[in-house]
Symmetry: C2
Subunit: 145 residues, 2 copies
């Protein structure tokens, strides 16, 4: 449903949103999100190319959000690493169907569309603000060392 890569990207973005004060290094994001560092490195690259994070090399460098948390949606994050694909045309390439989907693929696409909508409406800020018992990613203790 949601790929591992997308899950990682979301965690990383939430982590950065929770630690906006200073740039975060890959290694630190990795431990904070329980994502394999070497793979996270690739995920962060994708997020960087999608202009969702800014990267900075060298001492004191790392990653930080490119936009304010209220301006970044879950959908953008997911689409940056593993785009949600709507069903636009008949997957069977049936001539007669053309752009008009049959009932089956119409139903499937509606479901995808609703997920897309839900994700588009949710911003990073909302994730942070929600007063749940559990702080995202956080296991009781504070993340700042």
């Amino acid at each position: 449903m949601i790929s591992q890569t997308a899950e990682y990207a979301l965690r990383a973005m939430v982590f950065l949103a929770m630690n906006q004060d200073n740039a975060q290094v890959t290694e630190r994001i990795a431990t904070g999100t329980k994502v394999p560092a070497s793979y996270l490195s690739k995920v962060l690259q994708s997020l960087s190319r999608a202009a969702l994070v800014k990267s900075q090399r060298g001492l004191g460098g790392g990653f930080c959000l490119a936009k304010a948390p209220e301006e970044t949606t879950i959908l953008e994050i997911i689409n940056a690493v593993d785009p949600i694909k709507r069903i636009e045309t008949c997957p069977l390439d049936l001539n007669s169907h053309g752009v008009v989907l049959c009932a089956l693929h119409k139903r499937l696409d509606e479901a995808i569309a609703s997920v897309e909508q839900a994700f588009e409406k949710t911003t990073l800020k909302e994730i942070l603000a929600k007063p749940t018992k559990s702080v995202p990613l956080c296991d009781g203790a504070s993340l700042d060392k």
Copy 2:
């Protein structure tokens, strides 16, 4: 979003629903749904084990629906080959979270839940009955030879 395998399973089931008169052979279902026959064979096995189709070997054998189209949901079909997994516990295994999901995973799970619900509410019969311009799987001409 929806795996290839699930897509194939849905096509096969719709095909069987549209051809309930007599048992359909793998090869025939394959051409009718544009699914690679050798792989479809495995998919049908899964559907058979899930008791969504009945199989019959030998001459005149093949596959047919195990239940009436109005009693088979899209969700059952998908779950038979590639189960939809809700997020039940924190994917990071954070002690403090336990069963209470953080805002991020709560949102993700809500999306999954809505898809699950939509699929649970849709039966094969509805797929057949919907008066769309495009007949499912069908490219203008009738499927019966």
